[in-house]
Amino acid sequence: MSEAFSYYSGVPTFIEMLSIAMVAILIFLIGMILNMKKWGGGSIKAFLSAFIKSASENKHQSIVTSLVLDILLQRRLLRRSPFRWVMHMLIFIGWGGMLLLSLVFAAFEMLSEIGIGSFDLNAIRNSFDVPNEVLGYLLLLGLIIAIIRRLVLSEVSKRTQIFDWVLVLGILFITVTGFIAEGYRPDSVTAWSFLGADAALAQSLSLFHVAISLLFCIAYIPFSKYMHMIAAPLTIIANGGGE
């Protein structure tokens, strides 16, 4: 174990973090297996072969085009509502970007832990500070727009169900805990450093933040109505994408 290294905000417990991540991924995979069984009428194989058949028969464009234009850039949504597209992209880029940075950093940390390479993890972490903060604000802005939209537009608020609020407020809670954990970090350089330096609190908050991120944003998805986050991109691929 590297000497008192702090993962982002000061969690020295790489093993704990890894365990939570593994559990979250395992729960996610179990959920995906159950869903694929449900879609395939009890057989994962039936689902997978129907999926592959559909994706290859409906090939109006290359899969790369579908991934980039339809899934990442959401051009179908842009055609219908530029406003909702901006909101969605802010959330998607913020959330997806931070997930990516976390994965990259976790990879460096893991390589260090198992002794494959020797990296200056503090320097890497510090170099991620600015992009992480920018991405965090993009996500926060998107969430604020989503909340105001649900409160202000009567058509939208009438049709909002409890789980819509759980999703938006859940991600907002995770985002804010991330900012706060960062703010308590003794070497914090963010706007949230006004909270004061408290290494112990930063460690606990950071662990809490990462744990709920993994459980809510990964493990819970296949068991909830948020399954659309996985099923919608799969649908676009199965239907061959396109405008």
Binding site: N35, K38, F47, V156, K225, H228, T235, G241
Partner: protein, 443 residues
């Protein structure tokens, strides 16, 4: 108690304890996945023609229907169901869901605008079939389709030997030709002005064509759209019969003037047969647009400064993607002023007749048609044209309802004296080419 009553009324077998209330065996895996892919954004609700016609009764909302079926699936096949057994879904909920699902023309607008790209047409049709198998569906008079189409090969209770009764003496039909005209039941029996106009236009253009005549069977679109393809296996038998009969004639190209038959021949028949036919399937408007491009059409008359608009039939446009042929044809007609309705091409508003709605829920079909008529009135159209006998019939009913006119004789050309003429493009084409559009009984 209410549940038992509903189940008995509908003849639904009792579900043994511990068994799921719904099955999913005829819904394909991709459609089942799509129920989980809906983000609940509500975009589809902004475009659904039946939701509008039902004064936004949210039971009809595509978004809500997806959510309800997803809930049913969760109760019967979700994690809790796996751990503790499936939960019983009240019979009334399933029946209500069924009835709301049939308040849909399968127009596909919801899928076209869906940011998640859901193929809703496939979802609706497969789920309808599941509910028909369960004993809940179809809806109203739609239940007559299997017997009529299965036994008589047309939904109008006509004899097969009368398939060619509409053919007037002046029309020449070849025994063998490279091109065939698949007339369809509606044009052949109930809207003969379309059949005679198509035949005369082809004759005038010197395009020899043949027909199946008594050998032509209903395309079976109505059975597929209403979730009844399994009953007697009629659509598959019809697909095999029609395709093999056309192939036996050695035709290279088959022309369709009915959007419903065209959709069935393009998408449903190959799927049912497991292979593509050995001929090209072409809608007559695309064929005529080609003739225009080749300079083969000579217009004898003009639209005389009238404003004309075009309604894209769902089965021709959104379902198959034919949008430009009809517009090229109209653009070539002399003396007209073509205007688009606000909702056009893939975003058009359905005429209201499809998906079995005209037969099952005629008042809903009329409500949707009336909305489409108002779309045409908004652009001050003198002529509302379309390219499907079913659309023309229902839009004609809508026009009559909005303008308080008497019911017209849809077998014949629409009255020019009507404030807004509702007419098929092929009938207009025949007229402007100087041809008679009179049906046999008028000649």
């Amino acid at each position: 108690m209410a549940d038992e009553k509903k189940a008995v009324e509908k003849n639904i077998p009792e579900i043994p304890k511990g068994e799921p209330s719904i099955k999913t065996d005829v819904i394909d895996p991709i459609s089942l996945m799509q129920y989980d892919a809906c983000t609940r954004c509500g975009e589809c609700d902004n475009w659904c023609p039946t939701l509008d016609a039902m004064k936004r009764d949210m039971n009809i909302s595509p978004r809500d229907k997806i959510g309800r079926w997803r809930n049913f699936m969760g109760k019967n096949y979700g994690l809790m169901a796996r751990l503790f057994g499936p939960r019983k879904i009240p019979e009334e909920d399933i029946q209500n869901f069924n009835d709301h699902l049939f308040h849909c023309t399968t127009c596909g607008a919801c899928g076209t605008v869906c940011p998640a790209g859901l193929n809703t047409i496939e979802m609706w049709e497969a789920t309808r079939q599941q509910l028909v198998l369960r004993g809940n569906g179809p809806y109203g008079k739609q239940s007559l389709f299997p017997k009529l189409i299965g036994e008589m090969h047309n939904p109008y209770m006509k004899e097969q030997k009368d398939r060619l009764l509409w053919v007037p003496d002046d029309v020449k039909i070849a025994d063998n030709a490279e091109i065939a005209y698949f007339t369809g039941c509606t044009a052949g029996f109930n809207m003969q002005v379309l059949a005679v106009s198509t035949a005369r236009v082809l004759n005038k253009l010197d395009v020899p064509f043949t027909m199946l005549g008594e050998d032509e069977w209903c395309c079976s679109s109505a059975l597929i759209r209403t979730g009844q393809p399994h009953i007697g296996d009629t659509p598959r038998e019809a697909a095999i019969h029609n395709v093999e009969a056309l192939e036996a004639k050695g035709v290279k190209k088959v022309l369709f003037a009915c959007a419903g038959c065209f959709r069935a021949a393009t998408i449903d028949w190959p799927r049912l047969m497991g292979r593509k036919p050995n001929f090209e399937v072409v809608h007559i408007t695309d064929f005529l647009a080609e003739q225009v491009e080749q300079g083969k059409i000579t217009w004898e008359k003009s639209l005389e400064g009238k404003t004309i608009t075009y309604h894209d039939p769902c089965h021709l446009g959104r379902h198959v993607g034919v949008f430009e042929g009809p517009r090229k044809l109209i653009a070539s007609m002399p003396g007209g002023n073509f205007v688009e309705m606000e909702r056009n091409r893939e975003l058009q508003r359905c005429c209201g007749a499809g998906g079995g709605v005209k037969a099952g829920i005629p008042e809903l079909a009329l409500g949707v048609a009336s909305a489409r008529i108002k779309d045409a009135l908004d652009v001050k159209a003198d002529i509302l044209s379309s390219a499907c006998p079913f659309c023309r019939r229902n839009l004609g009913d809508g026009r009559n309802s909005v303008m308080s006119l008497e019911t017209g004789d849809f077998n014949k050309r629409d009255n020019e004296g009507n404030d807004m003429q509702v007419e098929d493009l092929i009938v207009l084409t025949a007229e402007l080419m100087g041809l008679s559009t009179k049906i046999k009984s008028e000649t």
